[in-house]
């Protein structure tokens, strides 16, 4: 049996350990805010201060003059909205097929879906680029948006898990009454997995908002640049102006951070589903 003093000691010890760890986890983010609000002189004075002596909110205005952040923001938003919508609906459509329709070769095809997750991205990246280049689509948003209309293995897998939870009896009852699979999909199954759709939407948002490789490969024209590309260029232009670099980075990360605080539940749900993958 545990004696209660010993228990108490361990609880306090663990708590303290977690707090120290938390400081290490949060310090980079607080430092980013701190630098983003400092003046150049203060950064290079080399004093170790978390709270700036002379807070400069103007940094956040200045960066819009250094780089066309507003254009980047609009571009990124257009791509993001299209990709997120396509990702949610197309993947749900495919996942419903794999979860609720008994067709020939279903198991084998699903294994094929999962095995595509193992392919290194670069192996298809180069030939895909060649294809899009041959089609004359380099320097357009098509290569960034179009692939999301054909589903992605990870999302199909995630949504299939949720569709499995929709009772078969409900689907059979609807079939008896003459509903076809499209009607069942839109009217019954889709509304039932709304939280899962949200999870996919949030993961997709994160993926496409932060995508650097796609835009780097396909976009040459600066007026088409996304935020990620814009930031990278920004780094070259103002290599040691850390206050501007951090202010810009903070602006780009902000939507993700805000989303995280409002919709934590859905992020955690996605991770939990992943954790169950070994269940057969």
């Amino acid at each position: 049996m545990y004696n209660s003093n010993k228990m108490k000691f361990w609880r306090i010890f663990n708590f303290a350990l977690l707090i120290v760890g938390s400081l290490f986890m949060m310090a980079p983010l607080f430092w980013m805010i701190s630098i983003a609000l400092k003046s150049m002189e203060e950064i290079y004075r080399g004093e170790f201060t978390f709270i700036p002596q002379d807070i400069q909110f103007s940094n956040f205005v200045d960066i819009f003059e250094i780089a066309p952040f507003f254009t980047y923001f609009i571009n990124t938003s257009v791509i993001t909205v299209l990709v997120v919508l396509a990702n949610v609906f197309v993947n749900a459509f495919i996942a419903y097929g794999f979860a609720k329709i008994n067709f020939k070769g279903r198991e084998a095809l699903f294994i094929l879906v999962l095995s595509t997750m193992m392919l290194p991205g670069f192996i298809t990246l180069i030939p895909q680029y060649v294809i899009f280049a041959e089609l004359g689509l380099v320097n357009t948003y098509y290569p960034l948006v179009l692939p999301s209309f054909f589903g992605s293995a990870f999302n199909i897998f995630l949504l299939r898990q949720f569709f499995k939870g929709v009772p078969n009896s409900m689907i059979e009852a609807a079939r008896m009454e003459g509903a076809n699979h499209f009607q069942i999909f839109f009217k019954i199954a889709l509304p039932m997995i709304k939280p899962a759709l949200f999870t996919v939407a949030i993961f997709s948002f994160n993926g496409v908002w932060n995508d650097f490789l796609g835009p780097l490969l396909y976009l040459n024209d600066e007026s088409l640049y996304t935020l990620q590309l814009g930031l990278q260029v920004f780094k070259e232009q103002s290599s040691t102006q850390w206050n501007y670099l951090m202010a810009g980075s903070l602006l780009v990360l902000m939507p993700v951070i805000i989303l995280f605080f409002f919709f934590q539940k859905y992020f955690i749900q996605g991770s939990n589903i992943l954790g169950q993958t070994d269940e057969k």
Partner: protein, 295 residues
């Protein structure tokens, strides 16, 4: 129910995936396989050159070996370190501790942050003179290294950044640990087991399926490191002294800087084979240490 009709519905529903698989995966794969035996460079013709690309890679190209070494180094350190860190943190959190939800949020947040913003943040943290890390070390009188500017410290810098975002796996482990039946621990306490014994005899074996899943996926993921190296190396090409020239970065340079596409495609197949072999080894070893409740 009509079986034929059911089949038809099935294929209609998965049709987008089938098209995508043929057009965006299988087609490109075949193209890449054929292309790897050619001197394709986008503009000129595609001439068949046999195994020349593969021969060049293995026998004459030092940078190929450098990039492979760098990548293996990164995988060998970052996968075990992040796994161990994630297990330790989730073990701490799997106790009855006040503020669990807050801790979860704090440790998980870095895992969802990615992209150029985060790389720039770390470039600042690692900056030898103005960065947080060296300024913090200076308080203790430690003269920090030059991190990304020093070929010895560049890779450890990236590994450190990966550790910061270990929260994603932490969440996986925490979910698994909370699924372990309480009766097992109660029985162990009755038998007088210590905390350490309970961790090694109950908690760890019960979460081995998740550890395995995490190791397999993060190994595959770590082999593909590219963006970090591209953005964080000063010249976008693996500086200093090629210490950040990872496999995918070198492949990128070959494909899109010098347009040696045939060579790059050959490289991508070698990477695929390496990752495949490692995954198979992972699965073979798994039988020895992964514990499934059904067994």
């Amino acid at each position: 129910m009509n079986k034929k009709k059911e089949n038809l519905y099935g294929y209609i529903f998965i049709l987008p995936w089938i098209i995508g698989f043929l057009g965006l995966t299988l087609g490109p794969l075949l193209f890449s396989l054929v292309g790897s035996f050619t001197n394709y460079n986008v503009t000129s013709r595609m001439d068949f050159v046999g195994f020349a690309n593969y021969k060049e890679m293995f026998m004459y190209d030092d940078l190929f070996w450098t990039s492979l070494y760098n990548t293996l180094y990164f995988v060998a350190f970052s996968v075990p370190l992040t796994t161990i860190a994630a297990i330790l943190i989730s073990t701490l959190m799997n106790q009855d501790i006040p503020g669990m939800r807050v801790f979860r949020t704090i440790y998980y947040l870095p895992a969802i942050l990615s992209g150029v913003g985060v790389y720039l943040l770390w470039m600042q943290l690692l900056d030898p003179s103005t960065g947080l890390i060296n300024q913090f070390l200076a308080i203790f009188g430690i003269d920090g290294p030059n991190w990304l500017f020093d070929s010895e410290w560049a890779k450890p810098s990236l590994i450190m950044m990966k550790l910061w975002s270990a929260g994603g796996s932490m969440l996986l482990y925490l979910a698994a640990m909370q699924g372990v039946s309480k009766t097992l621990y109660e029985a162990a306490i009755m038998d007088g087991a210590t905390r350490v014994q309970m961790f090694f005899r109950i908690t760890l074996p019960m979460v081995t399926p998740i550890i395995f899943f995490d190791i397999v996926t993060s190994t595959i993921g770590s082999f593909q490191i590219f963006q970090e190296a591209y953005v964080m190396s000063a010249d976008n090409a693996g500086a200093p002294e090629n210490s950040l020239l990872f496999y995918n970065l070198y492949m990128w340079i070959k494909a899109f800087n010098v347009f040696d596409m045939g060579y790059a495609m050959a490289m991508s197949w070698i990477l695929f084979i390496i990752v495949l072999i490692l995954t198979i080894i992972n699965f073979k070893f798994a039988r020895r240490w992964v514990h499934y409740e059904g067994d």
